[in-house]
């Protein structure tokens, strides 16, 4: 018999595979939010084991073939490294709240602005165009190196990559929509020690990206009304804030899970937070930070012009204080709040000085 004939279906079926399938008799029922990921976490298809041995890309719960190729080479194989309890919810919410920067932003509301305001707006938009896809590139790398047994967190990260792509384009659109253009980059996302790019561990990356970096940006986006000059900009900040809130929630929930399930790693995580905190106010990845061109641009936007810079700075300081307050609140909720009580965190001192000022 030639090999060509082997590929043709014979009238006699083997059907041996029917006895080698995963758990049978599963009937997930849609809830009022439709058939969600949480609805199909039932039986042996529910939560994964603490340690995955899946190197073949097998869907969790499917029957295994002993002769299947080991294609994965996955680096993240322990649940505590990436898991969080509400990943299914965050993913479904991300799907429901996708938006289009082409059609959901009322671009026609953008009208000519004074030169200094437009220039400040374009500087800030350039900054966001530059930094937003850090949160696309970096999670993407971790998706490919995480076992599909932990697919729920991976789905969230895939949604995040999509969100960040939209953020990158909405700010590019803003920079080019009103008689301005892109300006100078910050260089703040370069590959230097301590950056998000160079994290060697998922939780390390998440602490910098989700909790510190995106947390600071979330605070800003939430205060977008203060720096927006038209309905288009308000919509941009509002929609981006909605996405960032999910990303930050991912980081918080993951770190909480890590804290509860891998207490032996607590000291290591504290080191990541030490590093992250050094950058919250002084680093160049926070547009409201103390050492960035974008913070000057922000002050002009917040004040209402170059001539009202001081007024803008006062509002900028209020934003920074809020960034710190919200960061502390998030870290406390992850279970690492002791660092603010035992003197380990330098940030609390800065914050206290700030509050007293």
């Amino acid at each position: 018999m030639s090999e060509a004939e082997v590929l043709q279906p014979s009238s006699t079926l083997d059907l041996g595979w029917m006895d080698r399938q995963g758990e049978w008799g599963i009937r997930a029922v849609p809830g009022k939010q439709g058939l969600s990921l949480a609805d199909i976490q039932i039986g042996s298809y529910g939560e994964p084991e603490e340690r995955s041995d899946n190197q073949t890309g097998r869907p969790r719960g499917a029957g295994a073939r002993p002769n299947s190729y080991r294609i994965g080479g996955y680096a993240v194989m322990s649940k505590s490294e990436i898991w969080l309890d509400n990943a299914s919810f965050l993913y479904e919410e991300a799907l429901q709240r996708q938006w289009s920067s082409a059609t959901d932003v009322p671009w026609h509301t953008i009208k000519p602005l004074p030169d200094d305001i437009e220039e400040a707006e374009c500087q800030l938009a350039t900054f966001f165009t530059e930094v937003e896809f850090v949160a696309g590139d970096v999670p993407a790398r971790w998706i490919a190196s995480t076992t599909p047994d932990f697919f729920e967190p991976r789905q969230c990260l895939l949604a995040q990559v999509m969100d960040e792509s939209r953020h990158m384009d909405v700010f590019r659109k803003r920079a080019l929509a009103n008689g301005g253009g892109l300006m100078q980059t910050s260089g703040g996302t370069a590959g230097v020690v301590g950056s998000i790019d160079l994290a060697r561990d998922f939780t390390e990356m998440s602490s910098r990206l989700h909790i510190s970096g995106e947390g600071a940006v979330l605070t800003m986006f939430r205060m977008g009304e203060l720096m927006a000059y038209n309905e288009a900009e308000k919509a941009m900040y509002r929609l981006c804030a909605q996405d960032e809130a999910r990303h930050v929630a991912f980081g918080v929930m993951h770190m909480r899970y890590m804290s509860e399930t891998a207490p032996q790693r607590r000291e290591e995580i504290q080191c990541y937070l030490d590093e992250a905190e050094r950058q919250i106010l002084a680093g160049s990845q926070n547009p409201a930070g103390t050492q960035t061109d974008s913070s000057e641009a922000l002050a002009i936007l917040l004040g209402g012009g170059k001539d009202k810079y001081d007024e803008g700075v006062r509002k900028l300081i209020a934003i920074r204080k809020r960034q710190v307050q919200e960061y502390i609140k998030r870290v406390r909720s992850t279970g690492f709040g002791d660092r603010f009580d035992n003197g380990r965190s330098q940030l609390i001192r800065t914050f206290d000085d700030h509050a007293a000022a």
């Binding site: 599963i26 590959g191 050094r278």
Partner: protein
Amino acid sequence: MTDKTDDKSPPQPPPPQTAPPQTAPPQPAPPNLKWMGKTHQWGTRVKPGKHGLRLGDLNVGIYGEVPPVWTDQTRAPRGAVSRRGVPPLGYAIRDKVDLWADSAADMYEEAIQRRWAPAVDVPWSTVKPLPDDVERSICQVCTELSQYANADVESVTYWQSQMAYGYHEIKQFLATVSFDGARHMEVFRKRALCNGGGLGLEGPGEVNRMILESRGGWTEAVLYLFIVRGLFTQTMYRYLHRYAHNDAERTIFAHCLEDKARHLTYAIDHLRYAVNHQDDQNLILQQLCFIGERVLVRELKDVVLREALTIVFGNGISEAEEGGRIFRRMMSDYITRYLATLKWLGVERRTLFPEELSAYLKAS
């Protein structure tokens, strides 16, 4: 506004990344405003069209100039003024020929407009109990399709992060592809777990390995992921849509077909670009096809997917003969489209085409 980027002043140091913690209230320094006026092109006013303000609309003036090589190793957006002295990030894919497709910006916006959510956009209530052999077969097919989607996700996310920032349209389009992959993984899993069944047996994984091991670069991955495997998957979706057992399955495959069509558009566009702009690229693709087709043939010798599709198409084991005919027709359609696509790309596939695959054409 003047362009101050040609000044001869020494490069500025990159902004500090690991400055010591602040111990005093951070007082804002007086503004230096040196950033003002630093632009390569001012006065750009892109207007939304009837489909809104689309990514491709932004490609005006210098912002639309896409160079053949992107030498900048930072995240400087295309058209922005780069800051000098910034340490490089080490993007591996910096040649336009290795990733470009003119259609990417349009496909990106289309993907966003055609977004869907398996939880709510599939009429799950229309899924009714099926005979056990049919349910087992559809669950088996869904298991393998979910695994295919996983390979899509892992391959695309691996390459996407290595692509230079200057080709942002491609990175952004690929974000939609991996997100589509997430949805496909999810929707096939949901279908397998909603009707008294379960997941089936995992696939053999040989083609998945080939896709993920495309060490020759993204263009090689595109060929294997979107053409060799992608056309096969798309043809399967089309037949599964035609032989669906309920509206839920019809909806699933209709959405997946739409998504897959975008992926193929990009793939064909990119491969065409690569063939037209790189010497001998058609010959390289020909060699890769030669290898890939044999891997595909080996995987197709596994009876599991073939039998499951046969039962689904025939609507039961008892109608396996009819199901087999439909399966062969599906394979013939796939191979016809595969060869036509490669011919259009200028990749000759008459010689050394596997007899096992051409047999389907002869049989039809």
